[in-house]
């Protein structure tokens, strides 16, 4: 009796699902697509930016401003670190998912997650270098070593110190200061040394842009004030005055710089 009821419900379910597939699977998205393309054509297609008729990106997606070797181009504002593919890969959005105490994020911090050369917990970081006390060493192939073992080989510099994983926050902080010619003790905005949630973050903080402005001005041989004016022009404030955070759209700012004689 009960199985007969179940069988009848199953038949009804199949008819229902086929109907839903037609109406909601095809009809609903197509209705939304039609209306979107009609009323919000630009947004629905990804807020694309064209220069001289060529597609250069999207207002909403960050992109890389590096040379073919992956070094940052000094004449462009640099976006945040990205975990999307090899960096700002639109087909592979994502975050690092590194936990707040993971050595790949914070480095080997004494008293928190440091280990000795034998892999056992240690009070100090044996891989510390002069520049980076939280250095996480890399293997000769360049992979970070977070669980050292006695036979492990490490990459070393010419002066004999360990080569550090460049993607930890302490290393990124050093690299950011060096790129922008900041003093060794200068504070670095947190968004400049952490990877975003999407890996495609189009924005950086205003402080991050202002810290980069002098370098960009030098590389382009334009007055600093002109660059700072552009930074403020491309700063998007909080919506309605309180929703979200103010950001500077890196791609639009760089496009504007390229358009400036």
């Amino acid at each position: 009796m009960r199985s007969a009821i179940f069988g009848r419900h199953l038949a009804t379910s199949i008819v229902m699902l086929l109907g839903l597939t037609v109406v909601l699977g095809f009809g609903y998205p197509l209705v939304v697509t039609g209306l979107s393309q009609l009323f919000f054509h630009k947004q629905a297609n990804g807020s694309l930016i064209y220069r001289d008729g060529k597609l250069v990106g999207s207002e909403l997606l960050g992109q890389e401003f590096t040379d073919s070797k992956g070094n940052p181009l000094p004449q462009y504002f640099q976006p945040r670190p990205s975990a999307a593919g090899a960096g700002y890969d639109g087909s592979s959005s994502g975050a690092t998912n590194l936990g707040p105490s993971n050595p790949l994020l914070i480095g080997f911090v004494a008293g928190v997650n440091t280990v000795g050369l034998n892999g056992q917990p240690s009070a100090v970081n044996p891989f510390a270098t002069k520049a980076d006390p939280a250095c996480v060493p890399v293997s000769p192939q360049g992979t970070p070593v977070t669980s050292p073992a006695p036979g492990q080989k490490y990459a070393k510099t010419a002066s004999g110190s360990y080569v550090c994983d460049p993607n930890t926050v302490p290393e990124r902080t050093l690299a950011y200061r060096q790129l922008n010619g900041l003093a060794a003790s200068a504070p670095v905005p947190v968004d400049a040394v952490t990877a975003s949630g999407s890996g495609l973050d189009p924005g950086i903080s205003v402080q991050n842009a202002l810290d980069q402005a002098p370098r960009v001005a030098r590389a382009r041989h334009v007055p600093l004030q002109q660059v700072i004016t552009l930074v403020h022009r491309y700063t998007q404030g909080r919506e309605w005055g309180f929703l979200g955070e103010p950001t500077v759209d890196v791609l639009e700012l760089n496009l504007a710089l390229d358009g400036t004689p």
């Binding site: 419900h9 939304v32 979107s36 997606l61 975050a95 911090v109 003790s185 909080r238 955070e245």
Partner: protein, 572 residues
């Protein structure tokens, strides 16, 4: 918290406080007559012809009302048919049309996991959105499943309300409740929501990847897709499954600070409205307010804790990294968060949706501080009742309310009563089974995963954080939330199987048990209220219910939290 953090939270609370009662009034008017001949509801002129067409096609008599068993069987049948259909689509997507990104067919286990995940409304995604799912899968397979899960949730809630509070021995007609909830609630609201999202920059097109030449001379693939239409039902249906791998962090899904808050509202307003609807349907609006108050207190509690923790930042970063929030820098723990949301906006959206079964995230939970992540974890462990899923929130908190009147009844030595009906041993057995099913599933499967190789080898982050990755995964799927500490490599034989199992238990056991409770109370005598009757609509009972919720959730899971985030915070 900062001024703008408080402003965003107040904005959410204020809009919900205005919108949810209004929507609740509409829902009550829609479902009071349950579509029986002769009853009227708003929008009948548009909706009724559509519904009649559906009933005729299905061969359903909309005036018939069923026992709880028949109602549950219909839900199980729909679940089975839906899972099989979706499984077939996932397996065959490589040869089916609508696949401009050339996604190959999914493996049998991944297809099982994904099919179950979307049919149960969990939306745990062990696959990569951009590359492993075709347009056909996303729009046809997954979107249909998301509408179905939403409609089932609301239908169950309606049946449970009829059983617990009504005079009839039957609980309603599933096909009628399901059809009406889609036709009158989920489809129209989804279309409106999707258009709002597109107007702000969410994409909705059929072009596949476009290739851009970047300023630096490289190339970038710009994704497309039917994103907004999926995003709308993902949120409105408290589903949580995104078009893109990174979910609500993706600028094409959630482009601005405004959409971030709009998305959160799109998740939580409807579950709150369903509670207001409940109060109106039973003719005791105060009872609805009491439940809403409990849910709202928990919601504000876990979001404020997480917002504060994320704004405070990660103290293990070098001191020279400036994590202080100001007008020119969001500050805080920005790892895994996008600049336009900042630490507080991210925590508000992500942890705000954790009290629903949506689990929609705009940031990487795995990278939250231990305290910030605990906010999300606790919201899930309390059983998704702040404000819970569409319908799921209502039947969950009703079961907890029954537990509370029972405990209160023991204290004063009277037979417990809820809405005038006596709560006795048969109901309490079912209530206890309901309360225990999910914790038992989570703790057994989670602890097993921690001691066997196939379980531990998927962990990304070392130490206590890794333990949280595993236990969070089981808690999340068993409560049909679907969010993740995403470092866990979940597409393995062990996790695809066990997590799929946990989703099935976590979805269908509570549905069947709550319908059984409703069935056992359906037609029971309604006693007149006397001076000695416990008032379940007042602040005393609300506070008592809150205590029961915290003690039940807290005692069961406290050891797990100690070994996970709390331990991590103490050691770090």
């Amino acid at each position: 918290m900062s001024v703008s953090g408080w402003e965003q939270l107040l904005f959410i609370v204020a809009v919900t406080a205005v919108a949810a009662p209004l929507l609740g009034r509409y829902l009550a008017a829609t479902f009071r007559g349950a579509g029986a001949t002769g009853s009227t509801a708003p929008g009948d002129r548009v909706f009724l012809p559509v519904e009649r067409l559906v009933y005729r096609t299905l061969g359903v008599d909309p005036d018939s009302s069923w026992t709880w068993r028949a109602y549950a069987l219909a839900i199980l049948a729909l679940g089975l048919a839906g899972t099989l259909l979706l499984y077939a689509i996932l397996r065959l997507q490589g040869v089916l049309p609508g696949n401009p990104t050339h996604a190959p067919g999914m493996s049998p286990l991944l297809s099982f996991n994904t099919a179950v995940s979307f049919i149960t409304g969990t939306n745990w995604q062990a696959y990569e959105g951009e590359t492993q799912a075709s347009y056909l899968v996303d729009t046809v397979g997954l979107v249909v499943a998301q509408f179905t899960a939403a409609g089932v949730g609301l239908a169950v809630a309606l049946a449970v309300v009829r059983g617990i509070a009504g005079k009839a021995r039957t609980v309603g007609n599933f096909w009628v409740d399901f059809t009406r909830s889609l036709v009158r609630v989920f489809v129209p609201l989804s279309i409106i929501g999707a258009l709002v999202m597109v107007s702000q920059g969410a994409v909705q097109n059929l072009t596949g990847f476009r290739t851009a030449t970047t300023l630096a001379g490289g190339t970038q693939k710009i994704p497309g897709g039917l994103v907004a239409s999926m995003e709308a039902i993902k949120l409105l249906g408290t589903n949580g499954g995104s078009y893109y791998g990174t979910g609500g962090a993706h600028p094409f899904e959630n482009p601005t600070g405004f959409t971030n808050m709009f998305d959160l509202l799109f998740v939580i307003v409807l579950p709150f409205a369903i509670i207001f609807m409940f109060g109106r349907l039973i003719g005791r609006p105060r009872q609805g307010y009491a439940l809403v108050a409990v849910m709202a207190i928990i919601f504000v509690g876990h979001t404020v804790v997480s917002m504060q923790a994320e704004l405070h930042g990660n103290h293990l970063l070098p001191a020279s990294v400036s994590q202080v929030a100001s007008g020119v820098s969001p500050g805080g723990n920005m790892e895994g968060k996008d600049t336009r949301f900042g630490p507080e906006g991210s925590a508000l959206m992500t942890v705000g949706t954790m009290g629903t079964t949506a689990g929609a995230t705009d940031s990487a939970l795995d990278s939250y501080t231990p305290v910030g992540g605990t906010g999300a974890f606790v919201a899930i462990l309390l059983g998704e009742i702040s404000p819970g899923g569409d319908g799921g929130g209502l039947y969950s908190i009703l079961v907890l309310a029954l537990l509370s009147v029972f405990v209160a009844g023991l204290m004063v030595g009277r037979t417990p009563e809820f809405l005038g009906k006596k709560i006795r041993a048969p109901q309490m057995k079912l209530v206890l089974a309901y309360v225990l099913t999910i914790p038992v599933t989570v703790l057994i499967l989670g602890s097993t995963s921690l001691v066997i190789g196939p379980g531990t080898s998927s962990i990304l982050n070392p130490g206590l954080h890794g333990l949280t990755e595993v236990t969070y995964a089981f808690a999340s799927v068993a409560n049909n939330n679907g969010s993740a500490f995403a470092g866990l490599a979940a597409n393995t034989t062990w996790y695809d199987t066990t997590l799929g199992l946990a989703m099935l238990i976590g979805r269908f056991a509570p549905i069947v048990l709550s319908l059984a409770i409703a069935g056992s109370l359906a037609g029971a005598r309604v006693h007149a209220r006397t001076r000695a009757t416990l008032d379940t609509g007042g602040p005393t009972f609300a506070a008592f219910l809150l205590g029961v919720i915290i003690i039940v959730g807290g005692l069961i899971y406290f050891p797990m939290l100690i070994l996970g985030p709390i331990g991590e915070r103490i050691i770090g």
